[in-house]
Symmetry: none
Subunit: 254 residues, 2 copies
DNA sequence: CTTGACTTTGCACGTTTATGCACGTTTTAT
DNA sequence: ATAAAACGTGCATAAACGTGCAAAGTCAAG
C-alpha cells in the first residue's frame, strides 16, 4: 500500500469512527506502530487531525467551535450516529438536530438512502450536500453560534410548516424525572417545537448525558419513544428509562 | 506497445484500482520501472493523476478533500475575499452569497467587525459561527447541493423579509452585454431576488469569469454598482465595465 | 536507400524516502 | 508508587527516485 493512500485511509477512518487508535490500525494494516505514529504526526503537522496519546482525533476546522466537546467521547458518538442512521427507512422524512452527534448521523447515512432530511444545522447541511441521494431541507433563522443552529421566530415559523416521521434530538441531559434538558433557553424551545411536529422522537445520548440535567427543560422524558445510547453501559443507567416504556437502543462501538 | 496506448492503459488501471504501483505495473507490462515512472511523471504534469512515492493516485476526487480544494489557487479568490470583506462597514447588514469566493469573504471579516450577515449558504454560516461579533441570519429552503445553497419557495419568502445594505454576489459569468449569468435556473432566480432587496450589489469575479457567459441570466450588468476583481488584469478586460459606470475594485494578491 | 533529427527505452549513478528496530523518555492506568 | 503502554529520536536498510547518457527505433527529406 502506498504511503499517501494509507494517509488518506487514516483520514477516512477518522471521519468514519471519529477517532484513530494507533495500535488497532497498525494491526489492521499489517504495519508497525512506528509507521502509523509517523503518519499521524505528519497529518497532525498539516492540521488534518489532532494528535492525542494512543491515536488521533478530528481537527475539523469547520467545527472548530465544537472541538473541545468533540473530544468527549468520539468513538461513542460515531457509534450512536451509525445506529441512528440505520433507523432511517427509505422514503422517510426525518429531522436532524444540531450538534456533533447529529453530524455523525449525517455522515453515516447509507450512501444509497433515498430520504428527506430536515435540519436547522448548517453543519449537517454541509455534510449532507455531499450525499448523492438524500434531499435536504434547511431551516433558517438567527444563528445561535454556540451550537451552530438556527433559532428564533423565523425558525419556529419554518418548523411549523413541516411534519416529519422521526426527530433525532441531541440533548445535554437525560434524566428520568427532570426530563430532557439543554443549556440554552431558545434552543430548548426549538427542540420542543420540532418534537411537536414529529410522529416520533429519538434522543441520542452518550453516557455522560444519562442521569444529568441542564438548566432548561425541553420536555418530559415520556415524550420520546427511543433512546440511543452507546453499548456496554451498566444496567442501572438505562433501566429507569426502560421502566417508563422507552425503547433503549444500544450502539456497538467497533 | 505504443507509448500513448500505455498511458491510456495506466489511466484505465488507475480508474479501476484507484491507484498505480510503479513496480507492479512495470512487471505486468514487461517494461522497466524507469519507463513507467516517466509516464507517471508526464501524466502528472498534465494533471491526469497525482504522483506519489511508489506510484500514483487519482488526481481529483480522492484528493479533493484531502489537501483541500481551496489550496489550488489560494491567491486570487482569497484576495478578492479580503477586498470584499474590507468594504463592509460596522453596523451594516449585508447578504453573502454561496460559493467558494463568498466563503473567502466570510473568512476574512475583521475579527472585531460588528455587523449582520444574511446568507443562504450553510458553508458561510459554519465559517461565521466562529466569528466573535458578527450576527448571522440563515435563510432556509431546499438545499441545492451543487452550490450548497438554499433555494426554492421558502428561500424566496425569507428573502422577501429582509432588506440589506450590500449584496455580495458570486456568479459564473460577467459579460458587458449579456449581463450576469450562472449555471442554474433556480439559483439565478434567488440571486435576482436578493438583488432587488439590496441597496447595492457587489459582484465578486476572478479573472476567468470576466467576459464569460453561462446559460441563465441573473440581471443586466447595470444592476450592480461594484465589481471586485483580482489585481493585475489587462485593461481591455475591465474597461467595458468602467465605461458603464461600474466601479471596478481591484484586489491586491499579497 | 540513405541521412540526420528526433523519440523512446533501459541502464548506471548518486540522492531521497519509507520503514522497522533499538533505546531512553513520557504518559497513563492501577 | 509502580508497571505497562505509548512516545520520540536516531539509525540502518531497502526501495523508489531523478538525471544523464547511450543504444535502438522512427520518420521524413533528399
Amino acid at each position: 500500500m502506498l504511503t499517501q493512500q494509507r494517509k488518506a485511509h487514516i483520514l477516512e477512518v477518522l471521519r468514519r469512527d471519529g477517532r484513530i487508535i494507533a495500535k488497532t490500525l497498525s494491526q489492521e494494516l499489517g504495519l508497525s506502530e512506528d509507521t502509523i505514529r509517523r503518519d499521524l504526526r505528519e497529518l497532525a503537522a498539516e492540521g488534518l487531525l489532532q494528535r492525542v496519546h494512543g491515536g488521533a482525533l478530528p481537527a475539523s476546522p469547520a467545527l472548530a467551535d465544537f472541538s473541545g466537546r468533540q473530544g468527549v467521547a468520539p468513538g461513542a458518538k460515531a457509534a450512536i450516529g451509525r445506529a441512528a442512521a440505520r433507523m432511517i427507512q427509505p422514503g422517510q422524512v426525518v429531522f436532524l438536530d444540531g450538534g456533533t452527534t447529529a453530524v455523525q448521523v449525517a455522515r453515516n447515512l447509507a450512501s444509497d438512502l433515498k430520504a428527506t432530511v430536515v435540519t436547522h444545522s448548517p453543519s449537517v447541511a454541509v455534510v449532507l450536500a455531499e450525499h448523492p441521494t438524500v434531499e435536504v431541507v434547511l431551516i433558517g433563522g438567527r444563528l445561535f453560534k454556540h451550537s451552530v443552529v438556527a433559532v428564533g421566530a423565523a425558525t419556529f415559523a419554518a418548523i411549523a410548516q413541516v411534519r416529519v416521521d422521526t426527530f433525532f434530538m441531541g440533548v445535554t441531559g437525560v434524566h428520568a424525572e427532570v426530563g430532557l434538558t439543554t443549556g440554552d433557553w431558545e434552543e430548548a424551545a426549538v427542540k420542543r417545537a420540532v418534537c411537536r411536529h414529529a410522529a416520533e422522537t429519538v434522543v441520542l445520548a452518550s453516557h455522560e448525558k444519562l442521569g444529568a440535567a441542564s438548566p432548561y427543560v425541553i420536555a418530559p422524558i415520556t415524550e420520546i419513544s427511543t433512546l440511543v445510547v452507546e453499548d456496554g453501559l451498566p444496567d442501572y443507567l438505562i433501566e429507569p428509562y426502560r421502566r417508563l416504556g422507552i425503547a433503549v437502543q444500544t450502539a456497538r462501538d467497533p
